[in-house]
């Protein structure tokens, strides 16, 4: 027989004003298994807690129901008090007779009776409670940062500066990401490379950072504090240790007509190349798809000229394993490309703009390269088709974005600002030119942002037209842009020399593959989902994985950097202890009855369930069963509710506990269909009285 103590709180008058607390206590005494029941003015006060502790010792209670406010209010308080009295804290439950009863009902018989029943439900539950111990998890104090753009760089540096080792994995040959491609940044117009390059160098030389460029995450196993990561180092064909980065190979490479990714096709590169002068590491890589040796079997020009003997055509992809405790995902974005065959097959193109195939229709990043001093034109704004200076440039915003019929409904957030910046950069370089901007709304909240847009209009004379463009076609030397200005209500036709499309900010194409490996969820556009949009914006639902930057949604540089530092801080909180304690409200499998149908495994949002093989002593497989990793399980109980044979249960909310609560809803003594006029079944205290 259980020995449960029931402690009914008056909460000053908050409860006792409408609930007869004394009667609740007396009724509770009558419940089977209740060894002690009392009421008190303030249970949460020190004397109230002392009362509970005393009763636990005196009556050797094996369970406690505090009947007072919401558990969200004081569950921790009372569990701690119970623990101090030597009882396992999970043997204490609360019956919420304040928020769910006294505050929401009038002073009536039914209200007190409800309170009694709520206590009864909880007593029945507590009878089935068992002592639970917090789950301890070891923490490997090394971090993995995926993505070497400004977000990844910031996160890696912060963690490394905090004294922890960081593995930074970047898929491209150099770190830097999109920020390295930018000319200047809004709203200060400072040079992007000037502020980024020092950070790139820091990453390359930091003693705590292990940099894997031209590498990808191949596999991830484990859980928070204990991830095992397999990294694929793609074959560079260059021995990075021998290479001095002198660049001779680039000069001699005969394959020179490959559109440069870094310059977004506005300039060509060679097959062996350093992506851009400030690259970190400043080491070349051979693009095997275009290399003459790799495609035709002959050439080896680079090998011949390399003074360091660093060219290695035999290099193969290499796989390394690293153990880490926390992961920062900073895989960034790419721009939606206008056209039928973009990298985003789910989204249609823009046939009415000729699919953007006209060389003088470019995107925002291409414009950045044109405006960049280190870009293909040395910073001169020249149109790609013939190198002439464009005298009128039309900027189109919301291309792809806010375009439900093209499948993308979100606002790309940064376009309004960078387009304003583009008009300024243009005007600063082409004084007699005019910039036109077609916009639907100007979204410029942020410190100094709206002022910046106003400056573009007021000082640099950008002509802002509120409307979209229906068609762009070439007419001789010009592009005809047919748009509308909804403010005047008129159709607008502009003869443009160049058109810049502010295309949607999209996640890296194919990034969902990585997200699936990580077990993190993503939205319909493949942006990673945060654990909570307000309160846990840098965490993933999967413990130990954090987000930084535009992989989560469109973000500008300050936001990316701030979030990266936030993620780094989360990682360091994780690393601040040798061991993590986790709530023991976790699922548990009954291996005897589990039939390995794997429903639980599929519905678990946290990948906390894995397949386990049970073998006999000789190693023969007896059966497979589901196994819950308590370090990963967060206790939602979806597995338990899904399991047909009820072979998984959730500690703290076991089937037996819930069953007992439901069972306590009805007592034999209750007359469920009373005759008219007859009093309803008396509650136990009335019988006693």
């Amino acid at each position: 027989m259980s020995k449960i103590g029931v402690f009914v709180c008056h909460c000053g008058e908050n409860i006792s004003r409408t609930v007869d607390c004394e009667r609740v206590a007396r009724a509770s005494e009558q419940i089977r298994g209740v060894a002690f029941a009392t009421d008190y003015k303030y249970m949460c006060s020190d004397p109230g807690q002392a009362l509970i502790k005393k009763a636990i010792r005196e009556y050797e209670l094996d369970g406690v129901v505090v009947s007072s406010c919401s558990p969200h209010m004081h569950e921790k308080t009372f569990r701690k008090a119970v623990e101090e009295a030597g009882l396992n804290p999970f043997l204490c439950e609360m019956a919420n007779i304040r928020e769910h009863c006294s505050w929401v009902h009038e002073k009536e018989e039914t209200t007190t009776r409800k309170a009694i029943e709520l206590v009864r439900l909880m007593v029945e539950k507590v009878k089935r409670n068992v002592a639970l111990e917090p789950i301890r998890v070891n923490v490997t104090k090394r971090a993995l940062v995926i993505g070497g753009g400004v977000g990844g760089i910031q996160a890696a540096l912060d963690i490394a500066d905090g004294g922890h080792e960081v593995i930074l994995v970047e898929k491209d040959p150099s770190v830097g990401g999109h920020m390295a491609q930018l000319s200047e940044t809004f709203p200060t117009l400072d040079c992007s490379q000037c502020i980024l390059t020092p950070k790139m160098v820091d990453v390359g030389s930091h003693p705590n950072i292990k940099l894997y460029t031209y590498s990808e995450v191949e596999k991830i196993e484990g859980f928070v504090g204990n991830f095992k990561v397999t990294i694929k180092k793609k074959a560079r064909s260059v021995d990075i240790d021998k290479c001095t980065g002198c660049g001779e190979c680039q000069l001699k490479c005969p394959s020179k007509k490959i559109p440069s990714e870094f310059d977004r096709g506005l300039k060509n590169r060679t097959a062996i190349y350093i992506p851009f002068p400030q690259a970190v590491p400043a080491r070349p890589v051979i693009d095997r798809e275009h290399c003459i040796y790799f495609t035709k079997g002959k050439c080896k020009a680079c090998q011949k000229v390399c003074p360091a003997g660093a060219i290695d055509y035999e290099q193969t992809d290499e796989y390394v394993e690293e153990e880490v405790g926390g992961i920062v995902v900073a895989t960034g974005f790419d721009l939606y490309t206008v056209g039928e065959q973009g990298p985003y097959p789910d989204y249609r193109g823009y046939g009415e703009y000729g699919y953007g195939e006209d060389p003088d229709i470019i995107d925002g990043l291409q414009f950045e390269r044109l405006a960049s001093a280190s870009g293909p034109t040395g910073g001169a704004i020249l149109r790609p088709s013939d190198g002439k200076e464009p005298k009128s440039v039309v900027f189109l915003k919301c291309i792809g974005s806010r375009h439900p019929s093209k499948g993308i409904e979100f606002c790309s957030k940064i376009c309004c600002m960078y387009t304003a910046k583009h008009t300024m950069l243009y005007k600063h370089k082409v004084h007699d030119g005019t910039a036109y901007v077609f916009y639907m709304d100007i979204r410029s909240p942020g410190k100094g942002y709206d002022e910046f847009v106003r400056r573009a209009i007021e000082e640099d004379g950008a002509v802002y037209l509120r409307g979209r463009v229906s068609r762009i076609y070439r007419s001789g030397d010009h592009l005809i842009v047919k748009g509308a200005d909804t403010l005047s209500g008129a159709a607008v036709e502009i003869e443009a020399d160049m058109v810049v499309l502010a295309t949607a900010v999209m996640p890296q194409p194919g990034i969902e593959g990585l997200f699936q490996k990580l077990g993190i969820s993503y939205d319909q556009y493949k942006f990673a989902n945060e654990a909570h949009p307000k309160l846990r914006p840098v965490e993933c639902a999967t413990a130990g994985i954090f987000l930084a930057g535009a992989c989560q949604g469109p973000k500008d540089i300050p936001e990316t950097v701030a979030q990266a530092s936030g993620a780094a801080s989360k990682v360091q909180i994780l690393f601040s202890r040798d061991e993590m304690l986790r709530e023991p409200v976790v699922a548990k499998v009954n291996e005897n009855t589990c039939i390995a149908c794997w429903y639980c495994l599929e519905v678990c949002p946290f990948k906390a369930i894995t397949q386990k093989e049970i073998r006999d002593r000789k190693g023969n497989l007896i059966k497979r069963v589901a196994e819950v990793n308590p370090s990963v399980c967060t206790g939602c109980g979806t597995c338990a509710a899904t399991c047909f044979s009820n072979s998984i249960d959730l500690a703290g909310f076991t089937d037996e506990q819930i069953y007992s609560e439901i069972n306590a809803l009805m007592a034999v003594g209750q007359d469920l269909f009373p005759e008219p006029g007859k009093e309803e079944g008396e509650s136990p205290d009335e019988q006693a009285a």
Partner: protein, 286 residues
Amino acid sequence: MSDRTEGIREIARKWLGDGTVEAVVGWEQGTYKDKTSPVLIRTPEEADRLLFNERCTNNLMTYLKREPVRGMEKVGIVAKGCDIKALIGLLQESQVEREKVKVIAVTCPGVKKDDGTVPVKCRACDVNTPTFYDEIVGEKVDSSPEPGARFEGLEALDAMTPAERFRFWRGELDKCIRCYACRQVCPLCICSRCIAEKNQPQWVETSPHPRGNFSWNLVRAYHLAGRCVECEACETACPVNIPLMLLNRAMARTVKGAFDYEAGKDPETQPPLRAFNLDDDNSFIL
């Protein structure tokens, strides 16, 4: 039909002879009227007992989940298209390994019930010629599912008021004697411990009184939602003639309508209660 019988025997002889399988599960002539009975054939000599005819109503897949077949390394099984749907269900739920089961599919123009009528599953059949097997016997039979046949019983039920429906089911389910023939014969009732056998806590009362019967039949239908392949084994087995398929088909209709899913079609898909879509119907949730 006889060529199908010969075809089955031939393959069984071959597989048993060359050790491809340890045993073959098939049908043999029963001893009562014209019924057939499931049989486990272990030697090539015994293969001549196997047969196929329009009275081969049993779904043999139920034997894959029970001893001795469950323990075998390799087993052959004779199956109609409808039976193979159950196999697909078992594969989806990892209850059997594809390599372990060798299927002798048999094309089937339809079977007949004990009273000589054609079951709904045959009238609605879309797998007269199976497409998932290791070997197939019999001439190709084109499928021409009767439109509406599958859900025809539901229309009468739909037409009732809820109160009438409740009375109808109360009458039917009161008859239940909890023999569990429905569960035992079902190829997809895969639990080694049925929820009805769990007594700590006892969610489903085992007593064959109206309340226990209601819970049991409700839970059975729920646990088969999106999984039931409509082989009708349960309804055929029920000794008190409860129209169990009405419940199963109602669930099939829901699952088809809500999740565009049909059980037993594709081993690669996720059963509907093992997955979700962000844009699943939300209209009924206030």
